[in-house]
């Protein structure tokens, strides 16, 4: 594995980094593939843009039909990529905090918490983005607190946190079902559609608001990339090297929950992306859990959700919510991961 080790020193003024060319190349390719999924989403299938009129559709003198397709599909494709990136980073954060590849927000009940929060808001008559987003964030944070407190026993150990998280997630899911059963048909239907995790009906306005909300999260990525590698060395080593452990961990949990909650507020709970993206990124990008890991997780997440949504819309006989597609792929991946983990210990 000496290929990894040919890292270069990059220095420019006060800025300096140690960078592995292989990681940079892999990240560049991933970024291109992510752009590719957007292009694919615009062009594929009946009614798609012709590849030749792709750039033309952005100009003022585009044909009305082309512009309509762009309006229709562009927002959704960009949302998929943006949300995928958020989920990927959220997964990287939680897998680092739990020190376990199973410790992603969808497995440890945070998606379920966000979902329950939104359903509660809908059931109480709340409508609109702000109410949904608030419900999603509050639900996610409440679930995170519950999991943390229930799993706490002289510190939090990764695997116990995951088991407790799965249990809390199950409780929240049944709570959500109960809400839906008790609610009016109309409310229940809205909650159910939204709960499948779908990007259909995403508007440019939605994407704009989501992107704005994602800006502060993205600004935290350099900090996340600096902290995660230290955390990976174990609690004692990390704090002996100067990391303030508990504040850092709390900040990571809040950032991770916020990333998941953002996606859940707009698109509903989407499983698998947060779970798989960091692991896939690690294999493709290499270079550990630092900047290559965080960026790689974002890009792989973007590609996964982007492609997942294209598959959900065009590759299947019926149009499915993207959440259904990622759940199916994710289920298989999870089984494989569990097998590998149990084989290890």
């Amino acid at each position: 594995m000496s290929a990894v080790a040919t890292a270069r020193s990059l220095r420019w003024g006060p800025w300096s980094r140690r960078v592995a060319p292989r990681s940079v190349l892999a990240l560049a390719v991933l970024a291109l593939v992510a752009v590719g999924t957007v292009v694919l989403a615009l062009t594929v299938g009946r009614g798609g843009l012709a590849p030749t009129s792709l750039l033309y559709a952005l100009t003022p003198d585009a044909s009305g039909a082309d512009r309509l397709v762009f309006e229709w599909r562009g927002a959704r494709a960009l949302a998929a990529v943006l949300f995928g990136a958020c989920l990927g980073v959220s997964g990287a954060v939680f897998q680092a905090v739990t020190r376990n590849p199973l410790g992603s927000p969808d497995v440890i009940g945070l998606n379920a918490g966000s979902y329950a929060g939104v359903v509660a808001v809908i059931a109480l008559g709340g409508t609109g983005l702000t109410a949904t987003a608030a419900g999603s964030l509050a639900g996610g944070l409440a679930a995170a607190c519950a999991v943390y407190l229930l799993a706490f026993k002289q510190g939090v150990q990764g695997f116990r946190l995951i088991i407790v998280g799965i249990a809390v997630g199950a409780v929240l899911q049944s709570l959500t079902s109960w809400f839906s059963v008790r609610a009016d048909l109309d409310v229940a239907l809205r909650a159910a559609i939204w709960g499948a995790g779908t990007l259909s009906g995403t508007t440019w306005h939605d994407v704009g608001v989501a992107a704005l909300a994602a800006v502060p999260l993205a600004l935290s990525w350099p900090w996340i990339a600096r902290v995660l590698p230290q955390l990976a060395l174990g609690d004692d080593a990390a704090s002996a090297m100067g990391l303030r452990l508990e504040p850092a961990r709390a900040a990571l949990v809040v950032l991770g929950v916020a990333s998941t909650a953002l996606v859940t507020a707009f698109a509903g709970p989407i499983a698998f992306v947060a779970l798989a993206a960091p692991q896939i990124a690690r294999r493709i990008v290499g270079g550990g859990s630092g900047a290559p890991g965080v960026l790689g997780s974002a890009l792989v997440g973007a590609v996964l959700l982007g492609l997942g949504d294209v598959i959900a819309q065009h590759a299947l006989p019926a149009r499915l919510p993207v959440g259904a597609v990622t759940v199916v792929i994710g289920g298989m991946y999870l089984v494989w991961l569990l097998f590998r983990e149990s084989g290890r210990s």
């Binding site: 990059l10 004692d236 990391l243 550990g288």
Partner: protein, 271 residues
């Protein structure tokens, strides 16, 4: 900057220190001075508070009473990063990330010297090179840590704490689980670091090794210091009986003169 700091090193003082996890303190009202520039070995039976003491010295545990001084400064007055630049700790069981190379591991020791912007300055590079050279892992820099022998892996981790460039180095059972040759490898490294001016404190189980390499010994039992001084002063038949309930003969090493322990029997049941 070289791997060896500064003239005489920094003394570490525990002043009426009480630390613990649950109801009873593991370490109670302990007074201890680690001489500047010494290689101090802490010995004692299992669960006597050795590791707890070390973790308290590194401020991983907050004292219930008393304080820890670095030179004349209370460690509580330092920020996390200031403290990390002055005290390094190799924990008992650090986590080695999957597939990490020695160089990548050692680089992480620079955390306290870096910022969001500056993460690989020339000073970082020099410190990492010097640390790898001092720990003798320069040739292993591109190897994966999980493929190394136990002794090599321990030296890679010591290199990481050296890259921190702290005056004081705390090693929690650095030789446990190592075979005898690898133990010698690690202790000779600790001795070299001491010679170059660092203050080294290590929790050790192997008495003969401690007596051979350390310049200062601290014998603990039940959270208290039973004896401290030079190896010849501490490794005596009388102290071994008090600390370990062990009847033993102590004879001088024919080559070095360091005390050698020949165990005879356990004095009473150690419930």
């Amino acid at each position: 900057m070289s791997d060896g700091p500064q003239d005489a090193g920094t003394p570490v003082t525990a002043d009426r220190l009480s630390v613990g996890y649950g109801a009873d303190p593991v370490v109670a009202a302990l007074d201890l001075v680690v001489p500047a520039g010494s290689f101090t070995a802490v010995i004692g039976p299992n669960a006597c508070g050795k590791s707890t003491l070390l973790r308290a010295l590194a401020r991983l545990l907050a004292p219930r009473e008393g304080r820890v001084l670095l030179g004349t400064e209370d460690v509580r007055d330092l920020s996390a990063r200031q403290l990390a630049r002055r005290v390094g700790l190799l924990p008992q069981s650090p986590v080695t990330p999957d597939a990490i190379t020695v160089m990548d591991l050692v680089c992480r020791g620079r955390y306290a010297h870096q910022s969001i912007l500056r993460q690989w300055s020339r000073a970082d590079q020099e410190a990492v090179e010097a640390a790898m050279s001092a720990a003798g892992v320069t040739e292993l820099r591109d190897r994966r840590v999980d493929e190394l022998s136990g002794g090599q892996r321990q030296r890679a981790w010591i290199a990481l704490t050296l890259a921190q460039e702290s005056d004081v180095l705390l090693l929690d059972e650095p030789t446990t689980f190592l075979d005898i040759a690898h133990q010698v490898e690690v202790l000779e490294l600790a001795d070299t670091l001491r010679r170059r001016g660092r203050t080294v404190v290590a929790v050790l189980h192997e008495l003969g090794m401690a007596a051979r390499y350390a310049t200062h010994l601290v014998a603990m039992r039940d959270g208290r210091v039973v004896a401290e001084g030079t190896p010849a002063e501490v490794v005596t038949e009388e102290v071994l009986a008090r600390v370990f309930d062990l009847e033993a003969r102590v004879v001088p090493d024919p080559d070095t003169g360091a005390p050698v322990v020949l165990p005879r029997s356990v004095l009473r049941s150690r419930a």
